[in-house]
């Protein structure tokens, strides 16, 4: 019983430490554009995309570093992705091909 409590406590400390290190970066989608063209994050950080337009957006990347498709999301909603590998991630909106940005993920 005591041993289990110790393991739980250690796990909780590790988790808290990991959470403390991983940051969340917020990028808004407004006026058919990402709010930033370039974003530098640390490996393990997450990027949250918030749709501030009165219509739907999509977020995807087919980059080697990180390939993902967060699907379409309507006005006022958000989608997040964890950048778990170092490198360059080109992020686009499939609905609006003119919307592009680059996330540099550093170790």
């Amino acid at each position: 019983m005591m041993k289990n409590l110790q393991i739980t406590a250690i796990l909780a400390i590790l988790l808290t430490a990991a959470q403390a290190q991983a940051a969340e970066h917020v990028v808004s989608q407004k006026g058919r554009a990402f709010s930033v063209k370039q974003l530098s994050v640390k490996q393990g950080d997450s990027v949250k995309f918030v749709n501030e337009d009165p219509f739907a957006h999509n977020v995807f990347s087919l980059s080697e570093t990180k390939s993902f498709d967060l699907g379409s999301h309507g006005t006022g909603t958000s989608k997040s992705v964890v950048m778990d590998k170092a490198g360059t991630v080109e992020v686009e909106c499939a609905v609006h091909p003119d919307m592009k940005m680059v996330v540099e993920v550093k170790k």
Binding site: R32, D69, S72, V95, P97, D98
Partner: protein, 337 residues
């Protein structure tokens, strides 16, 4: 005294105007700053192919010349007929004995686009001019360029339009792009209203514009936004179709069955509508969107039932008709020998 007489004059004018309108109809107001954002600017041009009269004339001649096609039987104008709003009036195009899978889109205001064809696979008007489909494929185009280069009348036109440049696929493509950038619709009733003529739009058309741009009503401007009435984007609008559309080039789930937002300028002239030509009239289009599409398995979140009233639907169609420019006759070129 002057103020009073002005007041009386304006009151009398307002009374006359109100009397001329149908019962309950409000006069059309002057456009606001937000309205004026719909005004069309000059057509953008790539610096390596700035249009000149000689380039436009050469491109127009090539556009109407059937010798550009593999069998010498069709030109660009076969599917982009000026008297049919630069489309072809068919549900989907017919090339030779083949029925194509998609409707011929108008070339009106193509110069404002950022991607071309229904699925956006072409990234410039110059690229778009070459090999738009298998009947005018890139190898065929190369053979056509060789034929064109041997026609003395064309040699003189190319020398004038692109001095020092060889007559080859790229130069032909540049001339065709220059011509297509000259096909512009910017003098519709809506444009005249934006320029300050409050009599250019009928009250019905103005009400339709409000339905069009209200996200809580027609919500049309969610996609048909911007002075060319397109977001240059790709949307699945809920049509029942086996055509993968944009997904063939962008492997993202929401792109399955998604097609490029077409301009609405000259829309009255370019029936039938949608990529598959499945809507015959503008009223059918409005009714379709009012229902929120048919196949909602991968539909855009922006397509949802609208519950428009009969008057709102009629107003919307009236507004769409206000996007037609004054008709001008297109003179077909004499083809050089």
């Amino acid at each position: 005294m002057s103020t009073i007489s002005n007041f009386l004059a304006s009151t009398a004018a307002a009374a006359l105007l109100a009397a001329a309108l149908p019962a309950g109809a409000q006069p059309v107001p002057v456009p606001t700053a937000a309205d004026r954002e719909w005004r069309l600017l000059e057509v953008p041009m790539p610096k390596e192919n700035i249009s000149t009269p000689a380039r436009v004339e050469l491109g127009k001649t090539l556009f109407f010349d059937p010798r550009i096609s593999n069998a010498g039987a069709m030109s660009c104008a076969s599917c982009h007929e000026p008297s049919l709003g630069w489309a072809d009036g068919r549900k989907t195009s017919i090339v030779g004995s083949d029925v194509m899978g998609r409707a011929s889109p108008t070339i009106v205001n193509l110069g404002y686009n950022t991607l071309y064809t229904w699925d956006g696979r072409k990234k410039s008007l110059e690229e778009h001019a070459v090999g738009p489909h298998r009947h005018l494929s890139a190898p065929d185009f190369k053979a056509a360029a060789e034929r064109i280069s041997k026609i003395s009348g064309y040699q003189a036109m190319f020398a004038s339009a692109y001095p020092g440049e060889p007559i080859e696929v790229e130069t032909i493509a540049k001339a065709m792009a220059a011509f297509q950038r000259s096909v512009v619709s910017n003098d519709s009733a809506f444009d005249r209203w934006l320029a300050g003529d409050t009599k250019a739009l009928t009250p019905e058309q103005y009400r339709g514009y409000k339905v069009f741009s209200d996200s809580g009503k027609g919500n049309c401007a969610a996609c048909h936004k911007g002075s060319n009435f397109t977001d240059n984007g790709f949307h699945n609008i809920g049509l029942k179709t086996a055509d993968q559309g944009r997904f063939a080039f962008v492997k993202v789930a929401s792109m399955k069955g998604a097609f490029k937002t077409p301009t609405l300028r000259e829309i009255e002239m370019t029936a039938p509508y949608f990529h598959d030509g499945s809507a015959t009239t503008l009223r059918e289009v409005v009714d379709y969107y009012d229902k929120g599409g048919v196949d909602r398995s991968n539909v855009s979140p922006d397509i949802k039932p609208l519950n428009l009233s009969e008057q709102e639907k009629n107003d919307l169609v009236a507004f769409l008709r206000s996007l037609t420019s004054k008709s001008t006759q297109v003179i077909r070129p004499v083809l050089p020998q």
